[in-house]
C-alpha cells in the first residue's frame, strides 16, 4: 500500500455517503415489529472498508442500495456489488468481506447470496462461483492470513 508500490486504481471516483438512517416514530414503539428491510441490510455493509483505499465500499460505489434485496419472510438476501474497474484483483476479497459481514450480522435463517453486478468484471463467473460455494468460503475463513485481511476490512475505522 505504501512505499514505492502503486495502486491499481489510484484516483477512483468518489460518491457521497448516505446519512444515518432516520428514526421513525415506530422505532421506539415496543409493540411494532420492524421487518428487516433493504436499507437495514445496506447499512450493515456500506461501511466495509475497501482493501486498498481508506474509503468505504459505499463511497466507491461498489455497493448501492438498489442492488441490495432482502425478503424477510422467505429469509433470503441478495447483494450485488460492482468492482471499480473490470480487472480489479480485489473482487473476490471484497465479495468475501461482504459475505462474512452478513453471515455475522444476520440471523441464521437467512440464505445469503453475494455476487458481482452482471457485466462489470472480467472474471465475473469465477468469482461468483467462489462466493456461492459454501465449502470454499468456509475454507477461506480457516486461512488465518486471509481472515486477518477480511477482519481489517470489517474493522470500524471510527473507533
Amino acid at each position: 500500500m505504501s512505499g514505492g508500490t502503486t495502486l491499481e486504481n489510484a484516483n477512483p471516483v468518489i460518491f457521497q455517503r448516505s446519512g444515518e438512517r432516520l428514526l421513525a416514530d415506530t422505532d421506539a414503539d415496543e409493540d411494532v415489529h420492524d421487518p428487516i428491510d433493504d436499507r437495514e441490510i445496506f447499512d450493515l455493509i456500506r461501511s466495509i472498508n475497501d482493501p486498498e483505499h481508506p474509503l468505504s465500499l459505499e463511497e466507491l460505489n461498489v455497493l448501492e442500495q438498489v442492488r441490495v434485496k432482502v425478503n424477510d419472510a422467505e429469509s433470503s438476501v441478495d447483494v450485488q456489488f460492482t468492482p471499480t474497474i473490470p480487472h480489479c484483483s480485489m473482487a473476490t476479497l471484497i465479495g468475501l468481506s461482504i459475505k462474512v459481514k452478513l453471515l455475522r450480522s444476520l440471523p441464521e435463517r437467512f440464505k445469503i447470496d453475494v455476487s458481482i453486478t452482471p457485466g462489470t468484471h472480467a472474471s465475473e463467473e469465477a468469482v461468483n462461483k467462489q462466493l456461492a460455494d459454501k465449502e470454499r468460503v468456509a475454507a477461506a475463513l480457516e486461512n488465518s492470513s486471509l481472515l486477518e485481511v477480511v477482519n481489517q476490512c470489517l474493522t470500524n475505522k471510527s473507533t
Binding site: 489510484a10 477512483p12 415496543e30 415489529h33 483505499h53 444476520l106
Partner: protein, 1021 residues
C-alpha cells in the same frame, strides 16, 4: 587520633582484602562526619594503591571512588587537583582498574571547585586511554555522566578543546546499544549541537553516529524497571538531529529515504522530525532537496491509509512553506518558495478539475496546507487556484460537483484566515470578491439543500475575512438568508441559515436591524389566509414551521446590543399576542427559549442589563399575572400552560445571574414585594386589582403556580447580593409548599425555598429555620392521616439537596429520614428516585450558573458517608423492599465521577450484579447505565467477575423491555474491548448468545446486537 587511624586502617583492610562492600559506606559516613579526612584515607590506602596485584589496586581505587562519590562536596581545590592527577595516571594502568577510576572521575566532575584546565586534561586522558565501548554498561554511563557534568560547569573550557571534544565524544558513543546510555549520549549530543560547540570537520561524524538510530525502533521490556520510553528516545534524538542547520545536507536525504519505509511509525517519526527541523533551516539548506521531499510528501498524502500520517504530512508541507517564505533572499539566489509552490501546483492543481475523483481532496488539502503557511504563499496559491475553481463552478452543472468545489473554496478561505496577521493587508481574495460572491449567491438560489448548506458556511467564512465584503454584498446576503429562512423547508438548511445569520449579524448588525428583523416580524404576525379548507391545514403547518425558524433566527442574530434592542420587542410582542390566541404553546415556548438564549449570549453591559431588567422581566411578570387573573374558566390563556411558564423562568434567572447585579437586586426586590404585598406598581399595562396575594392562594392554581417566576428572580442572584425580606419569604414558601395541591406550585415553592436556604449565610437564624421546616415535614410524613405526604416529601428532598450542596451539618438528619423512608410502603419508590435528584444537577436552580453554594466533590462525600448505610439497609430489608435499596444505590453510583466509580466499584460490584438480576426494570436500566461507562476502562475486580457479569448481561438481552435489551447489548459490546486473554474463553458463548438478538423484532435492538457481535468476532484476531 591513633585509635582513629587504626579504625580507618581496619575499614580499608576489610574492604580491600575482606571484600566487604558495606565498609565503603561506613568509611564515607566517617569522612562526612569529619572523623577522617580524605588525605588520611589516601594515606591509609597507600599499600593497596601501590600493590603489585591489579585486583588489589582496583579494590583500593574503588574504595576511594566510593568515598568521593559520597563526599565530593567537601573537597578543596588543592585536593581535587591532586586526586585528578592520580586518577588520570591510573587510566593508563591495568584494565581492571579503569572502572573504579571512571567512577572516581565522575565524582570529581561534580566538584564545583574543579581547578581551571583540569576538565581539558581529564578529557584528553580519557579519550586517549579509554576505549569506551569495550567497557561495561555502568562504566559507559560513568563516562557519559562525566561529560554531562563537565558540559554543565566547564562549557568554556570544553569549547577550547575545539573539534577534538566532538571527536572524542563521537568515538566514545560509537556503537552504543543500551537505551539507558543512548538517552545520556543523545543529551550530550544535543548539548553539543545546541550550545554551539565547534563541530569542525566532524559534523558528518556526529550526525552519522547519532542518526544511525533513526527512526527509533525500541519497545521497552515488560515491567520495564528503568522507565525508558520510546517517546523519550524519539524526542531526544529528534532534538539532536534537528538542532542545527549544518545537519541539513545529511538529514534531508535520510528522511527522504526513511519515508519510503513500510513501517507506519517510522513514517510518522520522519515526518515529525522533518517538521521540527525545517523550523531551524533556511531556504538554502532546503533548496536542493525540495523536489525529493515534495515527491515523498505528495505520495504520503495521496496514498495514505492513516489520518495521522496524512495530517503529519500536511503539517510538514506547511512547515516547509513557512520556512521558505521566511528566508531573506539574495539578489542572485532564486526564490525557492516559488520553486516549491510551482511543484505543489503542478501536481495538485489539475486534480482540482476532477471534483468527482478521490484525489481532489488530498490535493486541496496539500494546497491549503501550503496556503496557510504565509501571506506570500497564500497570494501565490490563491492566484493560481481560484480562477480555475470559479470557472469550473460555472461550467459544471451537477450539484455534487458544485458542492465539492464550494467546499474546496471554503477550505481555502479558512486556511488563509489563519495566516493573516496585520490588519492593513488587503485580503488575498479582494480580486475574486465579485466572482466569489456571485458563486455563493447562485448556490444559495439552488434547490439542492446540501449546496445551500455549504454556501452558507462559505458566506460565513467570507464575511470573516476582514474588509472583504462590501455593504452591498452584505445586504444581498441578508436578502438571500431571509428568503431561505422564510421559504426553505429543509431542516438542515434552516439550521445552516440561522447559524450563518448569527455569524453575519455579529459583524454587520446594521443590515440585520434595517432589513432582517422587520421582515421576520411581518412574516410571523401575518395570518395564514383561508383557514377553513383542507389546503389550509398544510399551510398552517408550514406557517408554524416558518414561525419556529424566525424565532430561532431572532435569537441567533441577537449578539450585539443594538440588535438586541430591536429583536427582543418582537419576541415580547409574540408573547403578548398569546392572550388573544395568535400563537400556539409550542411557539410561545420557542419565543421564551429565544429570549433565554439572548440573555445568555449578550455582553453584560448597562444597556443590555436595562433592557432585560427594566423592560423584559416586568413585561413577562405582567403577562403571566394577567393570564393568571383571567382565571382558568372560559377562554384560558396559553401563558397558563406549565410548558410556557417554566420556560419563562430561565429567561429571568439567566438575566438575574449574569446581567448587572445592581439591577438584578432591583428586580428581586420588586418581585418580592409583588409576591408578598401584591405591589404591582412596577408592572407595565397596570390595570391589576390591588388585593393580589400570590403566595397565599390555596385554591387558584393559576395564581399559585406563578411562584416559579419568583424562584427565577430571587434564587439566581450572585451571592454578594442579599435577597430582601428573606425570612418572611421563607415562611410563606414553607407554608405554601406544605399546603397547595397543585404539583407545579408546591414543587416550585419547595425549589425556591431550597435555593434561598442554600445561599443563606450560616448562623442561628438558618439553623432554626431548618429545624422548623424539618419539624413540619416530619410531622406531615409521620401522620398517617395527612393528605400532603407527597408535598412534604418534595419539600424534604429539595431542602436536603440545598444542604447537601453546601455541606451543612444538619444534612445528616435529613438523610437518616430519607433512608428510613426507603422502607416505607408508599413512599419507598419515591425515596429511591429522590436519590437521583440529590445527586444530579438541576437545570433551573441550585447549580453554579445560579451562583449556588456548591462544594466540590459533594457527590463523593455523600457516597462515602452513606454507601455503608445503604448496603446495611439492603441486607436487613425484607425481600419486597430490596429493589428500593438497589435503585437508590444505582441512582447514586450512576452520578458519581468515573474515577470514584472505579475505586468504589470493587466493594459494590456484588450488589450491582445483584441489581442486574433484580426483576425491576428501572433498577436494571439504571444499573446498566451505571455499568456501561465503567466497562470502557474496566478495573481488575470487574474482570475477575467476568463470568457472572457476562451471564447476567446475556440474560438481559432477552428482556421484554427494549431499552434494557439495548443497554445490555451495549454493555456486552463494551466488554469486547477488555484485555483479549481475559475474554477469549467466553467468546464462543457470547457469539452463540448474540445470534438470537440479531433476529429481534425491533430494529434498534438488532443494530446494537450487530455492533456487539461483529466486534466480538474480531476478538482474538
Amino acid at each position: 587520633m591513633a585509635a582513629d587511624s587504626a579504625l580507618l586502617l581496619s575499614l580499608v583492610e576489610e574492604y580491600v582484602s575482606g571484600l566487604q562492600d558495606s565498609k565503603a559506606k561506613d568509611t564515607a559516613t566517617a569522612v562526612k562526619n569529619g572523623e577522617f579526612t580524605v588525605l588520611q584515607l589516601v594515606e591509609a590506602l597507600g599499600l593497596s594503591l601501590t600493590s603489585s596485584q591489579p585486583h588489589t589496586r582496583a579494590r583500593g581505587v574503588q574504595l576511594l571512588s566510593e568515598v568521593l562519590h559520597e563526599c565530593y562536596g567537601g573537597l578543596t581545590e588543592k585536593e581535587v587537583e591532586v586526586l585528578l592527577v592520580f586518577y588520570e595516571n591510573r587510566l593508563k594502568d591495568h584494565h581492571v582498574i579503569t572502572p573504579p577510576v571512571l567512577q572516581g572521575l565522575r565524582a570529581l566532575t561534580k566538584c564545583t571547585v574543579l581547578p581551571p584546565g583540569s576538565a581539558v586534561s581529564m578529557l584528553r586522558s580519557l579519550f586517549q586511554d579509554v576505549h569506551v565501548q569495550s567497557l561495561m554498561l555502568t562504566e559507559r554511563a560513568y563516562v557519559y555522566n562525566m561529560l554531562i557534568n563537565l558540559m554543565a560547569i566547564r562549557e568554556a573550557e570544553l569549547k577550547g578543546l575545539g573539534p577534538d571534544f566532538v571527536f572524542g565524544f563521537v568515538q566514545s558513543m560509537d556503537g552504543e546499544r543500551d537505551p539507558r546510555n543512548l538517552l545520556l549520549a543523545f543529551q550530550i549530543a544535543k548539548g553539543i549541537v545546541l550550545r554551539g560547540y565547534d563541530l569542525g570537520k566532524f559534523t558528518e561524524e556526529l550526525f552519522e553516529v547519532t542518526s544511525c538510530y533513526f527512526p527509533i525502533d525500541f519497545s521497552p521490556p515488560p515491567n520495564d524497571p528503568h522507565g525508558i520510553t520510546r517517546e523519550e528516545l524519539i524526542l531526544t534524538l529528534r532534538d539532536v538531529l534537528t538542532g542545527t542547520p549544518r545537519f541539513a545536507e545529511f538529514l534531508l536525504p535520510l528522511i527522504i529515504e526513511k519515508l519510503d519505509s513500510d513501517v507506519q511509525s517510522a513514517k510518522l517519526d520522519s515526518l515529525q522530525t522533518l517538521t521540527a527541523c525545517v523550523s531551524q533551516y533556511e531556504h538554502k539548506d532546503l533548496a536542493e532537496f525540495l523536489e525529493g521531499l515534495w515527491a515523498s510528501l505528495r505520495r504520503e498524502v495521496f496514498q495514505t491509509s492513516s489520518e495521522k500520517i496524512e495530517s503529519a504530512g500536511l503539517a510538514t508541507v506547511t512547515a516547509i512553506t513557512s520556512c521558505l517564505s521566511r528566508s531573506v533572499l539574495n539578489s542572485d539566489s532564486e526564490d525557492s518558495l516559488n520553486t516549491f509552490l510551482e511543484l505543489v501546483l503542478k501536481d495538485c492543481k489539475h486534480h482540482l478539475c476532477e471534483p468527482d475523483l478521490k484525489l481532489v481532496w488530498p490535493s486541496a488539502k496539500l494546497l491549503q496546507a501550503a496556503c496557510s503557511a504565509s501571506f506570500r504563499a497564500s497570494c501565490v496559491i490563491t492566484a493560481a487556484i481560484m480562477p480555475s475553481l470559479i470557472e469550473q463552478y460555472t461550467n459544471r452543472a451537477q450539484c455534487s460537483q458544485r458542492r465539492t468545489l464550494l467546499e474546496v473554496v471554503q477550505k481555502f478561505i479558512q486556511s488563509v484566515k489563519t495566516c493573516q496577521t496585520s490588519e492593513s493587508e488587503d485580503s488575498v481574495f479582494v480580486a475574486f470578491r465579485p466572482s466569489l460572491c456571485s458563486m455563493v449567491f447562485s448556490a444559495l438560489t439552488e434547490t439542492n439543500s446540501s449546496l445551500q448548506v455549504t454556501a452558507c458556511s462559505v458566506l460565513t467564512s467570507l464575511a470573516q475575512q476582514p474588509g472583504l465584503l462590501l455593504d452591498s454584498d452584505i445586504e444581498l446576503a441578508v436578502d438571500h438568508l431571509t428568503r431561505l429562512l422564510l421559504t426553505e423547508q429543509d431542516h438542515t438548511v434552516s439550521v445552516a441559515v440561522v447559524e450563518c445569520a448569527g455569524a453575519l449579524a455579529e459583524l454587520h448588525p446594521a443590515a440585520f436591524i434595517s432589513n432582517f428583523i422587520p421582515r421576520l416580524k411581518t412574516e410571523m404576525f401575518s395570518e395564514p389566509i383561508d383557514q377553513d379548507n383542507n389546503k389550509a391545514e398544510s399551510e398552517q403547518l408550514s406557517h408554524h414551521a416558518v414561525r419556529q425558524r424566525c424565532l430561532s433566527a431572532l435569537a441567533a442574530v441577537s449578539i450585539k446590543p443594538s440588535v438586541v434592542q430591536e429583536s427582543t420587542p418582537v419576541l415580547l410582542q409574540v408573547l403578548s399576542a398569546a392572550h388573544t390566541g395568535g400563537f400556539s404553546v409550542e411557539e410561545l415556548v420557542l419565543a421564551c427559549r429565544s429570549l433565554q438564549r439572548i440573555a445568555e449570549q449578550v455582553p453584560d453591559s448597562e444597556e443590555t442589563g436595562r433592557c432585560f431588567h427594566d423592560v423584559i422581566i416586568p413585561r413577562l411578570l405582567s403577562l403571566a399575572l394577567q393570564a393568571a387573573l383571567q382565571g382558568e374558566d372560559g377562554n384560558r390563556s396559553p401563558l397558563l400552560e406549565e410548558a410556557v411558564l417554566t420556560s419563562m423562568v430561565p429567561i429571568i434567572s439567566t438575566s438575574c445571574s449574569r446581567l448587572q447585579p445592581t439591577l438584578a437586586l432591583q428586580t428581586a426586590s420588586r418581585a418580592v414585594s409583588l409576591f408578598l404585598d401584591g405591589d404591582v406598581s412596577f408592572l407595565p399595562d397596570n390595570s391589576f386589582p390591588s388585593n393580589i396575594q400570590l403566595l397565599k392562594q390555596q385554591h387558584s392554581w393559576t395564581q399559585s403556580q406563578m411562584v416559579c417566576l419568583l424562584m427565577g428572580c430571587v434564587c439566581s442572584l450572585p451571592r454578594s447580593v442579599e435577597v430582601p425580606r428573606v425570612d418572611e419569604l421563607l415562611s410563606a414558601l414553607e407554608e405554601m409548599s406544605c399546603s397547595v395541591l397543585h404539583p407545579l406550585s408546591y414543587t416550585s415553592a419547595a425549589k425556591c425555598l431550597s435555593g434561598l436556604l442554600n445561599k443563606k449565610p450560616h448562623g442561628d437564624s438558618l439553623d432554626s429555620r431548618i429545624h422548623s421546616t424539618m419539624k413540619r415535614v416530619c410531622s406531615e410524613l409521620d401522620s398517617s392521616s395527612s393528605s400532603v405526604h407527597t408535598q412534604a416529601f418534595t419539600l424534604m428532598i429539595w431542602v436536603a439537596k440545598a444542604l447537601l450542596l453546601r455541606y451543612h451539618p444538619l444534612f445528616t438528619t435529613l438523610t437518616d429520614k430519607l433512608f428510613s423512608l426507603l422502607d416505607d410502603a408508599a413512599l419507598g419508590p419515591l425515596a429511591a428516585d429522590g436519590f437521583s435528584l440529590l445527586m444530579s444537577d438541576s437545570p433551573d436552580i441550585l447549580n453554579r450558573g445560579c451562583h449556588a453554594d456548591v462544594r466540590i466533590m459533594y457527590r463523593q462525600r455523600f457516597f462515602s458517608e452513606n454507601s455503608a448505610k445503604l448496603v446495611q439497609g439492603f441486607n436487613a430489608a425484607p425481600q419486597e423492599k430490596k429493589p428500593n435499596f438497589l435503585k437508590a444505590l444505582s441512582n447514586i453510583v450512576n452520578k458519581l465521577p468515573k474515577q470514584v466509580q472505579l475505586t468504589e466499584l470493587p466493594a459494590l460490584l456484588s450488589l450491582l450484579l445483584e441489581a442486574l438480576s433484580c426483576p425491576d426494570l428501572g433498577v436494571q436500566l439504571s444499573t446498566l447505565s451505571c455499568l456501561q461507562p465503567v466497562l470502557v476502562d474496566p478495573p481488575p475486580s470487574l474482570i475477575q467477575q467476568l463470568e457472572a457479569l457476562i451471564g447476567r448481561l446475556l440474560a438481559l438481552t432477552g428482556s421484554p423491555d427494549m431499552e434494557v435489551r439495548i443497554s445490555s447489548l451495549r454493555c456486552i459490546h463494551a466488554v469486547s474491548q477488555f484485555p483479549e486473554h481475559e475474554i477469549l474463553p467466553v467468546r464462543a458463548r457470547v457469539l452463540r448468545a448474540l445470534a438470537r438478538p440479531l433476529d429481534d423484532r425491533k430494529r434498534l435492538v438488532r443494530r446494537e446486537a450487530v455492533h456487539a457481535r461483529n466486534d466480538w468476532f474480531l476478538v482474538g484476531s
